[in-house]
Symmetry: C2
């Protein structure tokens, strides 16, 4: 008997963790099965072509401008933060109160802003140009990013942890782990991969962030996921990239 | 007898339309009074210092990283798209159904993405540097932005209009105007201000967008607002800036 098809379909470029990873982490922590459509073989409807088809389809729904996109029955949601806001209460990775959900969404939107800035450290001129064609500008942008923007964002997340009394400085929303914690784990891991020298300097001031990173990594379902082949490593096609000249900044 | 203080307080930098304008347009179209805190004189608690104080305050709430921020009683919401999502059903500028609200939020998040890109056309290296110190990079980024990104975003919004049957190609969500329409009006106006040559070329292909711009501008409360001194003109401190060398692209 074939396995039942998961009720949730995630569309994201295969081969990079990218923005899709923030949605994957929520499913993995919840233990809820999902169909990572583009990672199926092309002959089974997968591959980048599956994403491309979705972005080119038109009808009475809102055609997304880019992935990740989540499909659940007739519901189609694009934008990482909107996906997580919609999904989290359904799979139990955010507290139930409206106040908590509003807090979680705002933190996630700050993650969105950070990701756009991280992407532009290696692509300050255009997403359509190779890194090699904007290397000089990337070095200039990255130097200021690591000096000014990384500490600014780390301070924001640290304050968010400190201000959540119920989480005793360990979790961002409510008394336990929720989806913004999973996202912040990925942000810390990604920044360490891309800017190890800068992170080594800045992280010392914000020990709560390293503690959160480790606490998320140690959660049984997340630990199992990180050890599995479903987890995609950071690489130089994604948002967080390790280029030696930028990593040394 | 002094006038009753409005229940909604908006915190945004005085002097530029910026991201605050998307929230103002929602209040203005709804005819709901709001306190535009930083535009009060400094001696009445206004000015940029009012925003700065909010960004530096800490407690058991989430300290925002930047404005706009909306305060209503004990509720504090940051991020333009989150503010509008929270506010719109309360002041009646979005249809009631969950499906419509999800659609509106996704469109607004695309506006957020577009605004970040527009900002970086004149600040591709760093927000902390003057335009004059990144002028060469700005010209390079803007040339690709007007060629590749403007048509991509316009096509997205045009498809969104076309796909909304209830709005007969005139409105983005449901049968009438809602907050994403007000935002798209501001986007079209801003792009025309910053990139008039490119917009003259691209807009021809998407007549629905100009029609929406005009329909929003003609709504009685919006028309009155645009004619009032509350409406701030675009200028070279905001997101949409007119620099002759970029405007000619």
């Amino acid at each position: 008997m074939p396995a039942k098809k998961p009720a949730y379909e995630l569309f994201y470029w295969p081969g990079i963790p990218g923005r899709g990873e923030f949605v994957r982490l929520a499913f993995e922590d919840a233990g809820v099965p999902y169909d990572d459509v583009a990672r199926r073989p092309a002959r089974e409807g997968g591959g980048a072509a599956a994403v491309q088809r979705l972005l080119e389809s038109t009808g009475t729904f809102l055609t997304p401008l880019g992935p990740p996109v989540l499909r659940h029955g007739r519901v189609l949601v694009a934008h990482t933060a909107a996906i997580l806001q919609w999904l989290a209460p359904r799979i139990g990775v955010v507290p139930r109160s409206e106040e908590s959900r509003l807090r979680a969404h705002q933190i996630q939107l700050t993650v969105t802003d950070l990701l756009a800035e991280v992407h532009d450290t290696h692509h300050p001129i255009a997403v359509s140009l190779y890194y090699e064609d904007q290397r000089k500008e990337a070095a200039r942008r990255s130097a200021i990013f690591v000096r000014e923007r990384i500490p600014m964002f780390l301070r924001y997340f640290d304050r968010a942890l400190a201000s959540n009394r119920a989480g005793r400085g360990r979790w961002l929303v409510g008394p336990g782990a929720s989806y913004p914690d999973l996202s912040l784990f990925q942000v810390v891991a990604g920044l360490r991969y891309a800017f190890p020298a800068a992170m080594a300097r800045h992280e010392r001031k914000f020990p709560r962030l390293a503690a959160l990173h480790d606490a998320v990594a140690a959660r049984p379902r997340i630990a199992a996921y990180l050890a599995s082949e479903r987890r995609l490593p950071f690489n130089e096609h994604g948002i967080f990239r390790h280029y030696p000249e930028l990593a040394a900044l």
